[in-house]
Each structure stands twice: as C-alpha cells, then as structure tokens.
Amino acid sequence: MDITLQQLVFYVVAILMSVFSVMTVTSGSILRSATYLLFVLFGTAAIYFILGYTFLGAVQLMVYAGGIVVLYVFSILLTNSDKSINQKICKSKLFAVLATVLIGAALVLFLIWTNGFALNAIPECSEIGLKEIGRDLIGMDKYQYVLPFEIVSVLLLACMIGGLLIARKR
C-alpha cells in the first residue's frame, strides 16, 4: 500500500493535533498549555489547507495564532496565574467528568464510524478564489452574505467599546 504525500501530511497533523489537544487540558503549567493550544491552532490551519480552503487557513493563522494566543499569553502574565493552576477538583467529581467525557467520546466515535460515509476522496473542484469569496461576502443574492458581514462588523465594534469600558481603570 503506497501513501501519497498528502495522506502522510494529514496523518502526521491529525496525530499531532490529537496529542496536543489532550496535553492542552492536562498540562500543569498554564503557559505551556497556551503553547500547546497554539500548536493545535496551527494544525487546524493545516487541515484547512489540505481541504483546499486556503483563505480560511490564512484567516485562522492570522486571527488565532497571531492575535488570540498573544492575548492569552499577555493576560496569563498579567494575572500571574501560573502558580494557581494546580488547584485540583475533588476525586469524585474528577471521576464523574472522566466517565462523562470517555462515554461521550466513545458514543460519538461509534456514531461516526457506523454512519457509513462512503466519501473517501476530496471532490475534484478547484479551490475558491479570493474574487469569488469577496463577491459572496458583499453580495445580496441567495447564498451571499452581506447581512452577516455587516452584523459581525457591528459586533466587533461593540466588543471593542465594551472591552475598553470593562478593562479601563476606575
């Protein structure tokens, strides 16, 4: 059985993402946990690239890896929460959470596995160009998105003002 380069890249990225996302929630140092989150976000961008959504992958890299993780690291250092992360919840609660997560994951994986998706190849169509994405974002026809686009812009403005109001010194 020969595997192509794309399959090899996908399997490596998938294994790394699974491992790092588990390490993100189990790591004892919160700064390290944020670093593992950064690796998971890089992996997500790589999956978008493999799927052919290059614009989405670029947005993921810019917004998440460039913006949000830096925000996290700054606020971790500001609130010096590195010492207080190791406070654990009690044993019975931990057992309940573990059982919930494992049973839920097993159930969902079983459903996915037995659903019988017969699709094993990415459909052959060229990747969408930037021109088409731009037209869809500001078009007003069916399956075009000018209204959500404007609403998101208002939401971002409201978040900016709200963030300034909440975080400023009294």
Partner: protein
Amino acid sequence: MEIHVVYYLIVSTIMLFAGIYGFFTRKNLLAVLISVELILNATNINFAVFNRYLFPDVFEGHFFALFGIGIAAAETAVAIAIIINIYRNIRNIQTDNIDEMKG
C-alpha cells in the same frame, strides 16, 4: 488525494471532548477559556469538512467557519477584559472565589 472523511471527524471529536474535559476540570478562568477555544475550533473543522466532502459546489460551511472565527475572536477579547477586571478587584481568578458580584 484519498483521505476518508471519518478521519477528520475523529480528530475533531477528540478536540471537542478534550475541550469539554478541560472546561469541567480547570479552576483557572483563563484555562477554562483555552478549553472553550478548543471546542470552537472543533466545530469550525466540522463545518469546513462537511462542506468540502458533502456539498463541494456551495460554500456555506466555509463562510460559517469564517464568521465563527470572527465571533470567537470577539468573545475572547471581551472575556479577557472581564477576567483582567476580576483580577484587579479580588487579586485572583479562581472560579471558587468568584461568588459575589460588586457593582
């Protein structure tokens, strides 16, 4: 070019449940927020994958993931502003200690 669609869904399921586990077990507010990021990323992957494999002619999932990234960024910014304000008031950000609201 032959990657079965199930493998993508397995990865996103593992991410989702890792996020849920962290959401329940962490006590630090920033660590809880990091777990929420994992959950949101898993849903975004699912949007993109279902769009690409099941309906390759339209781009609904692509734009849903795009708007999801934007809204997640806004949510994170506001949440971090609130957390820093809490830290300024009570000098730590453990979930146990946040049990009263001061106007």
